[in-house]
Symmetry: C2
Subunit: 311 residues, 2 copies
């Protein structure tokens, strides 16, 4: 992370593309990642190491990681559902791996066919595997608490149950936990409350990031609430591409362009050049031409006299 | 205002409809206002008393006010650009009248062809006229500082200039001033800063409401910021209808449905039933069939297990 006040972690090449019907060709993925890095984005989740059969859009993740690692200063993140994915991530050279654990066991079973105990066991096995690696080859390991603000299958999840799972992920060896509003159920009050509660059990240094969706329009208000609560890492997706296909009705990542605009307008530095960031939309539009791209700022343009923290 | 923690002031029948190409027939306006009042909305800006030639969509405002006054408990608000409008508003029986003053003099000249001094003079004349009315017939008089967060013609406006205009409106006899982000230039930090500054010169009791737009996607984040700063009255428009036609590129009121959802999710009571509120969209869609209606909540639906403060 640079001198920026907040870290915008682009998840479009993973969370966005895995929800697109068509696979984006490798050449476009490379152009996209390179262009966003040039715009000042310093962390990108470039893919996931999952079954090619289930998610053919992610089949080239190894090559994407290999390419992304050549970009100076870029933290190359990937999502892994299990030990096999973690091994592939390490082999490819990812800097950060994220293992999702849905706090809704119903969602977990439907999404990755695993109980909570099974996912915790997997986290422990991955952590042990990583701890055996030489220092320089060991990626940062995050356990992401998905459906943390409620589940479209189970509704609200008991806070105590979430806190216990956060503790268990850290005990299993995760360097950090994240909170993910997979279903777009969060609101500014619940965001603040859950951040405080989870930090209360795992420590503030072990919860620094949130993954928020804009399903019901509260994405940026929730990001503001998280920022006010001290969160410094925010996942978002260029053009709002993606969502969660296994949670019915859930769609819509936070739009990176709008999120960066909010922080930059507030004088909170992101390190990102908004004009260059918005120019990346053309690459995405060309790479997955059947997909809609979202975002308010790209339609309305920057305000007259807007001064970014980058200028 | 009821026991609700915040007052949602619906401006769709005015700010929304005056920006629609076609005029909504009177019968639909009545159905809309009645249905929103039944959903729990306690203040509605039902129209404006302006030139029929310039805004034929508002030509029946007198009849709309007359009808709206028959709805028990509803505060019937109107916008007036001048003394003539104020006289018409009083004759019709409006409970609240709002006079806009654009803090961008360029915008003021283009929008209503008046300088700041001329608008302040008009405010003073209106206040004098109102003070001569019997107590029960005297409407609440608000001066609304439009383009308060920046202007598409002038860019950012000096804070000192805004504060002086706020003071002058109160000195001229306005009961209250409001802040209006006519152009969608506000961000959460500027919202908090300007609210504090204006309250510093006119007193907190004389600034209780904001009119925010969602042009660049920050509408709800800005509303959250205003709420955190103690603001209790929020303008919004059903389906996000409307914007400001004289500020190029500006469009998009905050969507009432999403705004109410944000507050209700946070446990902040609005007094509004979201299901009934969303049902009003059908009336608007039928009354101005060529207009797009916006809103995230209406597309995604309420979260599973959602509990409103109304139930």
């Amino acid at each position: 992370m640079s001198d920026s006040a907040v870290l915008i972690s682009e998840v479009g090449p993973r969370d966005g593309l895995q929800n697109c019907a068509a696979a984006m060709p490798l050449a476009f993925k490379k152009r996209w990642i390179e262009a966003e890095a040039k715009a000042g984005v310093t962390e990108i989740e470039v893919g996931s190491f999952v079954s090619r059969r289930l998610l053919p859009q992610m089949a080239d993740t190894g090559q994407v990681v290999e390419f992304a690692r050549t970009i100076p200063g870029l933290v190359v993140a990937v999502l892994v559902p299990n030990m096999r994915g973690a091994e592939a991530a390490v082999a490819a050279g990812a800097h950060k791996i994220t293992l999702p654990l849905s706090v809704s066991e119903t969602h977990s079973l439907r999404n990755i066919r695993r109980t909570h105990d099974q996912v915790i066991d997997e986290a422990r096995a991955i952590a042990e595997f990583l701890s055996g690696l030489p220092e320089g080859e060991r990626p940062h390991f995050e356990g992401s608490l998905s459906t943390a603000f409620g589940c479209t299958l189970e509704g609200p999840i008991e806070e105590d149950s979430i806190l216990r799972l956060a503790e268990r992920l850290v005990e299993a060896g995760c360097d950090e936990v994240g909170l993910s509003d997979t279903t777009g159920y969060a609101d500014p009050a619940s965001v603040k409350k859950l951040i405080r509660a989870v930090r209360g059990v795992v420590g503030a240094d072990k919860l620094q990031g949130v993954h928020l969706h804009n399903t019901r329009g509260l994405g940026l208000a929730n990001a503001l609430a998280a920022y006010e609560e001290g969160i410094t890492t925010f996942d978002s997706s260029l053009g709002g591409l993606g969502g969660c296909p296994t949670a019915p009705g859930a769609s819509g990542n936070i739009v990176t362009e709008d999120l960066v605009f909010m922080f930059e307008s507030m004088g909170v530095s992101t390190g990102i050049d908004l004009e260059k960031l918005m120019a990346c939309r053309e690459i995405v539009a060309a790479g997955v031409p059947d997909e809609d791209l979202y975002g308010f700022l790209p339609r309305a343009g920057l305000p007259l006299g807007f001064v970014s923290s980058q200028t």
